[in-house]
């Protein structure tokens, strides 16, 4: 059933994303043509358009990530979704997976558009060369470099997932209110962030007291990078799990559609 839910989730969101992505790529290509012909005015208009489009893509990606959860599950559409013979887990995961894919695709499309428009030639192989060159400069190469890149991707992915789950949790706890649910979701967002900062604020003196900092600095660079990445990943995992469990509990036990 998860597969079917994801299928419909993509169908519901693809009709917004695909035209938007198409528009950005077309504008980027036109822009590139004008810039190679050195026409000033169309180039400025083209650049402005693409900047606006890029900002729009990021904003719309965020809005749709939120809206698919809120509108589809917590408003009238919830009457359909929550009476389907599927588990609450499948509902949350279908939203999470689809939203993550679109977030990643948005980044990739924007990167591709920037590469197309860039005056000097930037290609994927060029970027890889630059990154590996940078890593080589600080004395890392070959397999180690690949491991670090994989680590960075995994950490970024876990951050994305836990970030989306935090938004889901904010919207889910608004079920406690009978009115002003959107407003309450914003309040929950502020509260969660404040709590996160307080926890971070507590963690620092504890780490200092345990002399973790000295220990960390005594390690060599590679160990520092690996353990840092591991720590970030673990943090995202725990935070994500907490928000997932909270959302699941709210949707299962406190559901109250208007």
């Amino acid at each position: 059933m998860l597969g079917k839910l994801i299928k419909y989730e993509f169908r519901a969101t693809g009709r917004v994303f695909l035209p938007m992505f198409g528009a950005l790529i077309i504008v980027a290509v036109i822009n590139r043509l004008f810039s190679s012909l050195s026409y000033k005015t169309p180039m400025i208009i083209g650049t402005a358009t693409s900047v606006v489009l890029i900002i729009a893509i990021f904003v719309i990606t965020l809005i749709i990530t939120l809206q698919r959860f809120y509108k589809n599950l917590l408003t009238n559409e919830g009457y359909l979704m929550f009476t389907l013979p599927v588990s609450t887990d499948s509902l949350i995961f279908s939203k999470l997976i689809t939203a993550s894919v679109w977030n990643i695709l948005s980044l990739i499309i924007v990167a591709v558009a920037v590469c197309i428009m860039a005056v000097s030639d930037i290609s994927l192989s060029g970027i890889i060369e630059a990154v590996s060159g940078f890593l080589a400069d600080i004395g890392i190469g070959g397999i180690t470099a690949a491991v670090i890149i994989v680590e960075a991707v995994v950490v970024a992915l876990s951050a994305l997932l836990s970030g989306i789950l935090m938004f889901y949790a904010c919207m889910s706890v608004s079920l406690l209110m009978n009115k002003h649910r959107i407003l309450f979701s914003f309040v929950a967002f502020l509260v969660f962030n404040t709590v996160g900062q307080i926890l971070g604020g507590i963690a620092v003196p504890i780490a200092m007291a345990l002399k973790l900092e000295e220990k960390f600095l005594s390690w060599d660079l590679m160990t520092q990078i690996h353990s840092g990445a591991g720590l970030l990943f673990l943090q995202n995992l725990i935070v994500g799990a907490v928000f997932y469990i909270l959302s699941r509990f709210m949707l299962k036990k406190k559901l109250n559609l208007e």
Binding site: M1, K4, K7, Y8, R11, A12, R15, N72, N76, E77, G78, Y79, L80, F82, T83, L84, P85, V86, S87, N178, K252, K253, K254, L255, N256, L257, E258
Partner: protein
Amino acid sequence: MAILDCSGLTKTFGPKRALSNVSLSIDKGRIVGLLGPNGSGKSTFLKLCNKLLTPSAGTLLINGEAPGIKSKSLVSYLPEHNYLADWMRVCDIISFFRDFYEDFDASKATEMLVSLKIGERERLKTLSKGTKEKVQLILVMARQAQLYLLDEPIGGVDPAARSYILNTIIKNYNPEAAVIISTHLISDIEPILDDVIFLKDGEVVLKSSVDEIRGENGVSVDALFREVFKC
């Protein structure tokens, strides 16, 4: 055998009791009217049966099990609200139902769409409120469910469509399935009911068969309702 069984079912919202100590048993093959004025707990009861709300106290069993994924595949529920996403076409929502409900009969749905003159290619956004309600009812009635829970199925449609809907319920009758219809338009649905349940302020004040009410009191259910709920 009872398809729906509840005892001491209670739902509170803060200090407000929406449903209070409701004990009922609905047998297969019955068409039951859940009658009561606005705010008497009809919708709350149906939402509890669909796990859209969690009971504050009491037990509720559908086909012998607590509401969950399994009961959701047996229950066909028509909520009061329009739950259809605007951007979909009628055919999209048909294939959605076919994908998720094994008991959904798409050819039956198509047949009903044709007789109500609703085009499959139409976008839900362009349909009137009444037509959307009809689409939803078609989706619900095209399932071969064991329990139909219909919340105000005839509230927002014109009298011609009302007859069609009541006819659909009769034609769809299955001795293995039960139908619960919540409404305040009693005289319209009275002839199709076996039993009635009167809800008042979240409590069951009467449970009887239509024949009994007419035979013993010599009045219609509609008249009895007006008497019980006199303002």
